[in-house]
Symmetry: C2
Subunit: 758 residues, 2 copies
Amino acid sequence: MKKNNNIQFLVMLFLGLAIHLSAQNHPNLILTKEGVAEIRKNIGTVPMFDKVLADTKAEVDAEIEIGVKVPIPKDMAGGYTHERHKKNWFILQKAGNLYQITGEEKYAEYIRQNLLAYAKMFPTLPKHPTDRSYATGKIFWQCLNDANWLVYVSQAYDAVYNFMSKEERDFVEKDLFRPLAEWISTENPKFYNRVHNHSTWGNAGVGMIGLVMNDEALIQRALYGLKNDGLDNSMVDNDGGFIKVEGQNRAGFFAQLDFSFSPDGHFTEGPYYLRYAMTPFLLFAKSLANNRPDLKIYDYRNGILEKSIYSLLYETDAQGRFFPINDSQKGMSWNSREVVAAVDIAYLDFGGDPMLLSIAQKQGKVTLDVAGFKTAADIEKGLTVPFQHQSIAYSDGADGKHGGLGILRADNPDGEEICVVAKYAAHGMGHGHFDKLSYSLYDTDGEVIQDYGASRWVNIDQKGGGRYLKENQTFAKQTIAHNTLVINETSHYKGKVKAAEAHHPDQYFFDIKNPNVQAVSAKELHAYEDATMHRTLILLKDKNFRNPLLIDVLKVTSEKQNQYDLPTWFHGHLVDANFDYAKQLNSLTTLGNDHGYQHIWKEATGKSEGQGNQITWFAHQNSGGGEMQGKLFTLTTSSLPGDELFFARAGANDPSFNLRPDPVFIQRRTGGNSVFASVVESHGTYDPVSEIPVSPFSQVKSVAVIHDSRAYTVVQITDKNEKSWTLAISNEETSDQANHEVKIGEKMFKWQGAYIIK
Amino acid sequence: MKKNNNIQFLVMLFLGLAIHLSAQNHPNLILTKEGVAEIRKNIGTVPMFDKVLADTKAEVDAEIEIGVKVPIPKDMAGGYTHERHKKNWFILQKAGNLYQITGEEKYAEYIRQNLLAYAKMFPTLPKHPTDRSYATGKIFWQCLNDANWLVYVSQAYDAVYNFMSKEERDFVEKDLFRPLAEWISTENPKFYNRVHNHSTWGNAGVGMIGLVMNDEALIQRALYGLKNDGLDNSMVDNDGGFIKVEGQNRAGFFAQLDFSFSPDGHFTEGPYYLRYAMTPFLLFAKSLANNRPDLKIYDYRNGILEKSIYSLLYETDAQGRFFPINDSQKGMSWNSREVVAAVDIAYLDFGGDPMLLSIAQKQGKVTLDVAGFKTAADIEKGLTVPFQHQSIAYSDGADGKHGGLGILRADNPDGEEICVVAKYAAHGMGHGHFDKLSYSLYDTDGEVIQDYGASRWVNIDQKGGGRYLKENQTFAKQTIAHNTLVINETSHYKGKVKAAEAHHPDQYFFDIKNPNVQAVSAKELHAYEDATMHRTLILLKDKNFRNPLLIDVLKVTSEKQNQYDLPTWFHGHLVDANFDYAKQLNSLTTLGNDHGYQHIWKEATGKSEGQGNQITWFAHQNSGGGEMQGKLFTLTTSSLPGDELFFARAGANDPSFNLRPDPVFIQRRTGGNSVFASVVESHGTYDPVSEIPVSPFSQVKSVAVIHDSRAYTVVQITDKNEKSWTLAISNEETSDQANHEVKIGEKMFKWQGAYIIK
């Protein structure tokens, strides 16, 4: 461009004009021209954003240095070609934003070369050679990853749309983007035309490239799905989830918005998957908000997208780690890149909640776009307000009538939290676990009574290619792997997805009016043919205990005599038990043969001699020599004389060391109608540096069921000073106004409402 | 004192004069009048010190609020009376410093009341009713704790010496301090007249109260021990340690200084116990420096006290946690109160090394005295220099000729460390483990290949009263619990302390001249009658590997055919192995019957088919859902065809769940002269939030022993790009000048010096 003569000048002027005309529409997907101008104007004034810009430049510059790498697809997740193409989508999207923000053409050039390379390769690709997915991709082993790629690379293409020539655009659209969009939609309807997070990625990919190319047919297909998909109700995906669900006879993005969330924003698969699903929901929604304001996408279903972001934030422990219900990899948290994007978009587009800024601060980064810029700028202005977790009940199911998740949280005087999560949700599709009425317990540092989560190391090739492991099906999903009742050594719904999806527990009550006595109660009537279960969990703040107490009352009703097993997956090292037990010294055998029992080593057996059996354990004591302060917890149970008490551990029938060797305490009882009541107290601390134990013994002395009938269950808790608390539950009437009375010994115990503790 | 008449006034004047005369000498133990004046003058100018002052006031004020509590002694450690008396000693010492610094009489009054209560009680006390120690105390279950009490309460008494009346002083000296000093010295010579950390506490307690009371007999007894102790060489303490050690025929503080440390400051029991022992050494030494400057105590043995403080700091991992050699509770670190005091005293009295300030900053606190004040003030002045760990060899034994500890450390380009600790030390008295030539491996985050440490939860009453557990003897001390060779399923020295104390390994070479190739080598000739062992550990920095490689060559020489077991206690979760193994699916049995083998479950058995067997594991991945980044390590061994390869786990024959269920990999070989060579590579990372594995596979392909003779051992390491490194060791000649050559295949391999890697 150093030459200069009149004709050339005129040609350039003309070209410039043409570019200007066309350029009016790009970027318009996630970035907009106005947004880019706003950022450019303020470069250098917001350190947090400037750091993201500098880090991103360094990262992308390093890739540019390496050069374009578009290998012929061949590997599973974890393998080279998979990881390289995955890296490409992230780098290309970043390069696009860098080009727009900095104006440096090297970024546009890098994208151009990549797109040309992909377009050259794509028509030569057969179905991915692995052929191991229910919907195999082209660039990746599954269509899902192809759709991921498209969601990100659409943004890169949008950013360089005007940089590329018309011929180049025609080439990449014809040989890459359109055939890829067809592959993940019309050619794989099982993948595309479904209500599922996989399909949301598919819809978003198709819709976003449709918006960039201004292809109304693709946009409509993204919003409303395929008209004729030829799918039937018996098809399943790799996780055993059904492709088609009764009552969900629509597809496309609006159907995802209608059916994926409960009316209050809960995602039936749980927060680990919502985090993953959130990206296509938000990126496509933002693209629609920028391009199709008439759709009012953010207002859809009373603002379902905003609600879903908050459900993601509230379904975390005090450290921001997602409750690992259903299939979840532990450790995933609100620090993930998906939640960084969700928080920034929510802050920009949903009213600027200043509590979101505190999460952005913890995340330590923002997105390289207008949302991220606004977030960083307002943190810089000092607008941050600390995020407050809260007790909350989420309904499940698109209609909000398929049970739900009850979260109770209470603080001690130092602001340290006890949090119980009651799961009475629907099955959760292919990623659901058979754990009706299970609970998990957390404190400020993390897990105290754990949900095992999934048996999987995501993307670790050596562990089954990074996919779900066999033991996920045979152990992690089974009832015995959770903190809920197993009857006759058989999982809920016999471990059958179809049966589990046909039913759900129901919330009985959820009450957080009194911050000192918070309660959640739910019933499950269908998990077993001959038995029903009713569980009530209460967080009690009382000055006699340093931390909030968890009270758990699980009532089972059956006309038959059954074997009941109630596992408690206490997380840590056993310190003591106040009953005699015999540990297996020289040999171990399994707890059973099926339904997950075959994966559990029976380590010790004890016999209850009466009520008030206790176990005490260390939580958070890192045997690796960490300096986290250990906490001492005690579970006190209402075991009956003759109950068997087991200590056991996961790890049997595990040929490849896939299971974590985690401990469990199991109460076993033979009976018909029966109640398991217990209390969990966080009473002590121990620091291996000071070596001083504080309150190493529980203040609770006993827990006893002092009345149980069809109508009422009454439990008495006694502490070591002989102070007692009586919890009465009305089992069939939740009205606040109803009056109840039960004769306990010689005295009438009277109360009003569904339950009382006094 | 509200009355006022002339006579009374004159009496008071006289008394005041008397107090003034006497007051010239108090405080003079740890605090001095000049030091106190210096602190008083600067209150409010050093925030870190002011915070300690405020925190200490809050803590002591809360205790004053509760009131004096001097219960009749009855409990073991962890029980109420133990913990209360222990708390008293700390609070009284703090109250003394507060009285001196603030001048507020409530602190002196609180001490006075306590001392009077103790003095009233003490003559009524029989020997502590528990009677479970080799040297039972009066206030506590062991004399050791009585001595702890005296070391701290002497300081409190010094602080209020002038506040108390002559009558009161006479009373507490006659009924409390003198009889207590006699109890822990003349009445318990087994405790007092020994070279051992217990006795150091005894000496210091007797000496410090002697200095406060200006009792020359007690001071002499502290410095030089009891003349006639009536002890014989067969007596042992509760840990199985011998009371008398051959060649150590003196006692008292000077004998402790002479025999407790190697000439370079290493403490034979290891840093966990040195931390504990340090307090009486430093407090008594400082008291002597203040009162008996003629003794030049800080110069004694070429400044042995200063050297010992540095050995404490260097024998830690990158996070400041002590290497848990011998009996150690994990998690103990330089953040302990003992090291806070040691660092502050070292900074004040040993030349003001500014690196010490960075440790004080990490500790986040200082002592409430002149040393702490000076430390905090210089941090405030910005004098801090970052502490640098370093590769270093410590000798063991008072003469420095009883083996030692070799520490090699190397960083990767990000400043992350790999550190190997080679233990070729003397037995370590009663707290020693039978682990000659063992090693442990650390990275920046902590343990990678662990030393199990002790089986004990210090002060946790439910775990055997907080004392050493049975499994400490039967498992934690045994050879199989360590990363070193076990021959014929028998621990080193058959697990006998007397035999182990009679010998020690010897350093063969230690070479850190080249930061890219650091090496330590040692030999053990006596652990087995018919076999000798020679181990060389090398940290290799090479641009082909992201992190420094550990190379391990263990050569065993025996004319007999033996069964060799080489355990590697890899810390974390097994990811993969490149050889076939059969895991026990439905039942487990133990690895053996004795010498610790009875405590190990045999989980899986494999057979080597040749060289280059590998196992890969996750380290630092907190299954509790922590967000620490996981690291991937691979061990590559030179196993021979036919070697058996076991995966096993601690926990068998453990009736009370005392053992941690930690995993171990064991190579078993039958042979005579044999070499076990291996490489450990830190190659990968995995973050559960990004779910991206970085370098999940090792770059090492194989390790092979390509020559082994009496004179030379040669090992070849090959990476996946077929690049090779050859390590040659001269087994009998360490001279730098000596020339060596070995024929490998058709070629002569030549080098100069004890070893080469090229």
